[in-house]
Symmetry: C2
Subunit: 225 residues, 2 copies
Amino acid sequence: MERLLSNIKISINEKCYLKDPESSDLGKRIVENSIILIDEIGFDNFTFKKLGVKIGSNESSIYRYFESKHKLLLYLTSWYWSWMEYQLVFSTHSIPSPKLKLEIAISILTQTTVLDSNFSHINEVVLKRIVINEYSKSYLTKEVDLENKEGYFSTYKRLVTRLKDFILELNNSYEFAFSLASTVIDGALHMQFIKDHFQSISDKKMEKEPTEFYKELVFKTLNIA
Amino acid sequence: MERLLSNIKISINEKCYLKDPESSDLGKRIVENSIILIDEIGFDNFTFKKLGVKIGSNESSIYRYFESKHKLLLYLTSWYWSWMEYQLVFSTHSIPSPKLKLEIAISILTQTTVLDSNFSHINEVVLKRIVINEYSKSYLTKEVDLENKEGYFSTYKRLVTRLKDFILELNNSYEFAFSLASTVIDGALHMQFIKDHFQSISDKKMEKEPTEFYKELVFKTLNIA
DNA sequence: CAAATATAATAGTAATACTATTATAAATGA
DNA sequence: TCATTTATAATAGTATTACTATTATATTTG
C-alpha cells in the first residue's frame, strides 16, 4: 500500500505477498529489480535465483516476501492496474461532461507513453511492458477461478467496471458496456503487442497510439457524434 | 496437411513437427490426445511424459514427432486458425454482397458453438477451448520475433488479413482495418474467457454469443446502417 | 546488552524438459 | 523369404526449476 498524492492508495491484495515488500529496503529492491529482470529475460525464464544474483541477495530471502513467482506477477500486475485506476479517477474527477470524461479515460488507458510518477523504486514504463507481455499468464491458468474468488483480479475488474460506468453515463441504453470496456482495456495492451511484433497486421495509422482507433470505435458504437 | 472437401488444405508450418503426425497412427493419437490432455490439465501442467501414459506410449516416441511442447502448441493453434480460415473462405466464397460477407465472417469468428467436421482425430470443440486458454502463450515469449520470421504465425496473420480485406471491401476509406479485424478475432477469444471466468464483468446480453456485440461494433464503426 | 527479527547460506527434493543410447517390433523390397 | 530399413519402446541420464527446511549470522529494538 502506498499513498498517491495523499488521496488514493495503490491497493494490492495482501495474499500476494508473505511480507509486505514496501516494508523494507530488501522488499523494494526485490520489486524494483524483478520488474527489470522480467522485462529483460521474460517471465518464463525468470527465477528467484537469478533475481537473487541481480540484487546481491539470496533466493531464500526472496521467498520470505513472495511464495512464488506467480504471486509476484499478481503483485506487479495489480500494482499496474491500481496505478491506472488512480490515474483514471484523478484525471476525470472534476470533469462534468460524460463525453469528455470517457474521452480522457480512453486516452489514459490506451496511450503508449507513460506518465512519470513518484514511485522511486517502480519504473512504470518497464512495468507497462511487463503487463503487455505477461499479464495474460497471470489468469490463463487452471487456478484462475480459485484465485479470482480470493480477489487477486479485483483491481483489474474494478477498473473495467469504472470504464463501463463512464460508458453508461453517456449512453445508458447500451447493452454491452462491460464488453466494450474490456475491449478497450485489454485490446489496447494486445494492440501494443501487435505493433511491436506483428507489424504486418498493424495499421500504418497506428504508428503512434491506438487512442484514435479506440475513441472512434467507442463513440461510433455508442452513437455519439 | 489434410484436404478439406477437396479444396483447401489445413496448412501447418512444417517446422512445427519433426515427423508429420498425420503420417502415422501414433502421430494421430498424439495430436488427438494432446488436445484432450491440455484441456484437462492446462498447458502449463502438460508434459510429454503424461501424454505418453495417456496414449500407452513412450515419452521418447512423442519427441520423435514434436521437439517440444511449445512446438506442439504452435501446431495445434495453427491447425485451429487454418480450420477457421477454411470455414471463412468456404462460407463467403459465393456471396457477392460485401456486407453479408462481413456479417458471415464475424459470425464464424465469434460464435461459441463449433461446427462439426470430418476430422476424426481432432475434436474442434475442445481445440477451441485450448485456443481460448493457451493461444497467447504461444506468442508471449522472448522468441516471438524469431519464430514469427520463421512463419509460425502466418496462418493467424493471414486470417486477420482476410477479415481486414472484407472490412475494406465495405469501407475502403477506413484507416484501422487491421486493428478492427484483430479486435474481432482476438477479442472474441478473450470475451469467451471473461464469460467463463470473470462473470462479474461480463454483460448479461453476452450469455449466448458475442456475435451481436461484434457485428454492431464493426458496422457502426464502418458507418454502415 | 539481550532478545527479537531480518537476512544469508547451505542443502536437499521432486518434477520438468529434455537428450542419448539401445532394444525390439513391424513394414517393405529384392 | 529373409534381410534391411524404419518405427516405436525402454532405459538412463542431465541441467534446471521451483521450491522447502535448517542453520548461521547480522541488524534492530526495547
